[in-house]
């Protein structure tokens, strides 16, 4: 029993970073008032560019390339939604479509339809002393992204809750006019948050293709960007909340895969598809209970116009 729990925990921690980073990116962007429906597309370009780069250069550099690619797409989002006050959802959806079609096109013209060649993943680190502890030994033997994913949510939470910059970022998502009154740049803060969100979505995608999947495939990230949105909502727009939600979703996935392989009889009682639908149903249920937008920033999705006070 303990061994099973350890295995589940281990595979959860192995797969979680991609979703955690994307969810954190979404929190960052939306906290500053800019809707991040484009997560899926940013993850996709991040995953693709990192995978292509990883075949030619050291892994950390390739991941950085993926992050920059995510930020580049985020910059388009920022240009349209901040500079030109376009509808943020439309811009995000457009980016998703472009990333989907463009990714397929580039993948096929570079490597053919079956995806990139396999990528050698990151080195795994063992934490000395943990090996012998039951269950907790699952914490050992992961690659750097996992450990970063365990730390970053708390750093971001601290940043948003405790620092002047964090306060300003949150204020710009709630009451941009008040921020402007203080002589601060609404556009500047939002640009920072959107680009930061793009970097993190790119990181999530890069980790997904290089470390988790070990390659970029036709359908990467297969909706993970949208699950990141769900995790953000589930976590009530807080970094730690989104982190826990992302872990929960990944755990559910690990559980499903584990069940499918170890107890096939159970799947006759509870069909696979039903289990797969569960995170989405849960998100809907939670939103229904929460009512009225939960904890969403007040000015979320509202383009800032200087003249209107």
């Amino acid at each position: 029993m303990l061994e099973i729990l350890r295995a589940l925990l281990f595979s959860t921690l192995d797969a979680a970073p991609a979703l955690v980073f994307a969810a954190l990116g979404a929190v960052l962007s939306e906290r500053a008032g800019v809707v991040s429906v484009g997560m899926e597309g940013m993850m996709r370009v991040g995953a693709f560019c990192a995978a292509v780069a990883a075949l030619k250069m050291p892994l950390p550099l390739a991941v950085a390339v993926g992050m920059l690619a995510g930020a580049a797409l985020a910059a388009v989002h920022g240009f349209l939604s901040i500079r030109w006050r376009s509808d943020q959802v439309v811009s995000g959806i457009a980016l998703n479509l472009v990333a989907l079609a463009g990714g397929s096109f580039l993948l096929e013209s570079l490597y053919g339809p079956n995806g990139t060649p396999a990528i050698e993943g990151a080195t795994r680190w063992n934490i000395p002393g943990l090996q012998s502890v039951p269950v907790l030994s699952a914490l050992s033997g992961h690659s750097a992204p996992t450990y970063l994913a365990l730390v970053l949510p708390f750093v971001l939470q601290g940043l948003l809750a405790r620092t002047p910059l964090g306060l300003r970022l949150r204020a710009v998502g709630d009451k941009p006019h008040a921020v402007a009154t203080l002589g601060l740049s609404v556009a500047g803060l939002r640009w920072g948050a959107v680009l930061g969100g793009g970097l993190m979505a790119g990181l999530g995608g890069a980790v997904l293709s290089t470390c988790v999947l070990g390659r970029f495939e036709q359908h990467t990230p297969a909706g993970l960007g949208f699950i990141a949105l769900a995790a953000m909502v589930f976590g009530r727009w807080t970094p730690v909340g989104a982190f826990l939600a992302a872990l929960f979703f990944t755990f559910g996935d690990a559980l499903r895969i584990g069940l499918a392989s170890s107890a096939p009889g159970l799947l006759d009682v509870v069909p696979q598809g039903m289990l797969q639908a569960l995170p989405y149903v849960l998100t809907l249920a939670l939103l229904t209970l929460q009512g009225q937008r939960g904890n969403a920033p007040a000015a979320l999705g509202v383009p800032y116009e200087q003249e209107s006070r």
Partner: protein, 378 residues
């Protein structure tokens, strides 16, 4: 400049720019000549190979491509209308894909398991699909109205729920079809001949009743929105729910009805796919027509007839896109053109600013105030 024209101009320019960018993309990665040839192939694949026909080929060199384009256009029109109608009442329906999945499933079930004469069978299957899609969208409307759940999030979630439940459970489990000889097949059982949408040109092409149906619905929706009281009230809610409420418009009812209509349109798209071409719910619905609908609606400026025109145009490109493969150009190119066009349409304000500048620099024309984005805030 005529106001209607000015409204449509950013969309037209966006499509042209997208076409130009993608041409350049092929030209750079392959050769300029290849790019031009590929576009020509796409055109012949979409509107028929007229030069070939004039040189004496069979009539099917024209009717087949036109039929394929019409099929694609019918689906794009219906999902585009779905998104556009929701827009009119101020909701962003990202859930057309999920609604389409349920509509397709309903049509497949009614088509396969009911025995009716053809006169009744097709309408019953269409109705079932519309109801299923409408109910799925109605769920999002209810959550919005009574619990304040934002429809962008709820429809995204409902998409995934529909996809997982239908594709990963129902059609491979309880509803899995059995072919002749007892072999189990992917997807649901074959629909009965009475439920098949009649082909309009017989064996000349796959053009079926779905195409005129989609065009008819586009016109009907336009008439409803522009000529009836309830349509007017629906638009009023979209322009400002509070103001509409003050004016005595039943906001909740208009929202619910518009969203249900949106779902019905997407559901019908599923039915047209299943009853018109697939013959059953396949293993997976495949192409994300529901998401295409978002692009179609926005490029069509959220106007039912605009969406129809955009759908016709992209139907031609999508049908012709496969022919690009002969020149080793990737078949998803039309989707890339569509995505880029949407991206440029999202930059509507940029176009309007550019157009304004041009106009004010011209001496005789006084610059009028260009209207702002047509998209209700999501």
């Amino acid at each position: 400049m005529h106001e209607r024209l000015r409204q449509a101009l950013p969309s037209v320019l966006s499509v042209l720019l997208a076409l130009a960018v993608c041409w350049a993309l092929i030209a750079v990665t392959m050769a300029p000549g290849t790019a031009t040839d590929a576009y020509l192939q796409m055109l012949w694949g979409g509107i028929g190979n007229w030069p070939g026909w004039l040189d004496g080929s069979a009539a099917t060199t024209i009717t087949r491509p036109l039929g394929e384009a019409a099929m694609k256009a019918a689906l794009l029109t219906l999902t585009g209308l779905s998104v556009a109608v929701a827009f009119k009442v101020g909701l962003f329906n990202i859930g057309a894909q999920g609604q389409m999945i349920l509509g397709a499933l309903a049509a497949a079930i009614v088509g396969a398991h009911l025995s009716l004469p053809a006169v009744l069978h097709v309408p019953t299957a269409l109705l079932a699909a519309a109801l299923a899609g409408g109910a799925w969208a109605g769920l999002a409307a209810l959550l919005k109205l009574y619990r304040g759940v934002h429809e962008v999030i709820s429809t995204i979630m409902l998409n995934w729920v529909a996809l997982r439940l239908v594709d990963n459970w129902l059609v491979i489990g309880p509803l899995r079809g059995v072919a002749e000889g007892g072999q189990s097949i992917t997807g649901t059982a074959e629909i009965q001949p009475t439920a098949v949408l009649p082909r309009l040109l017989g064996d000349l092409s796959r053009l079926n009743l779905g195409f005129p149906l989609a065009l008819l619905l586009a016109v009907a929706l336009w008439l409803w929105l522009s000529r009836t009281r309830s349509g007017f009230e629906t638009r009023a809610v979209g322009l400002g729910a509070e103001a509409a409420r003050t004016a005595g418009v039943p906001v909740a009812r208009r929202t619910g009805v518009a969203m249900a209509l949106a779902g019905a349109m997407a559901g019908l798209a599923g039915a047209v796919l299943v009853l018109g071409t697939e013959g059953r719910y396949p293993g997976t619905l495949g192409a994300p027509y529901g998401f295409d609908g978002i692009a179609i609606a926005l490029i069509g400026n959220n106007h039912p007839l605009g969406a129809m025109l955009a759908a016709l145009f992209f139907g031609v490109l999508r049908a012709g896109g496969t022919r690009m493969q002969m020149l080793h150009v990737h078949p998803t190119f039309p989707e890339l053109i569509q995505g880029l066009a949407l991206l440029f349409v999202a930059g509507r304000q940029v176009w309007l600013a550019l157009l304004r500048r041009r106009e004010s620099s011209a001496p005789a024309v006084t610059s009028s105030t260009a209207s702002t984005a047509q998209v209700p805030r999501a």
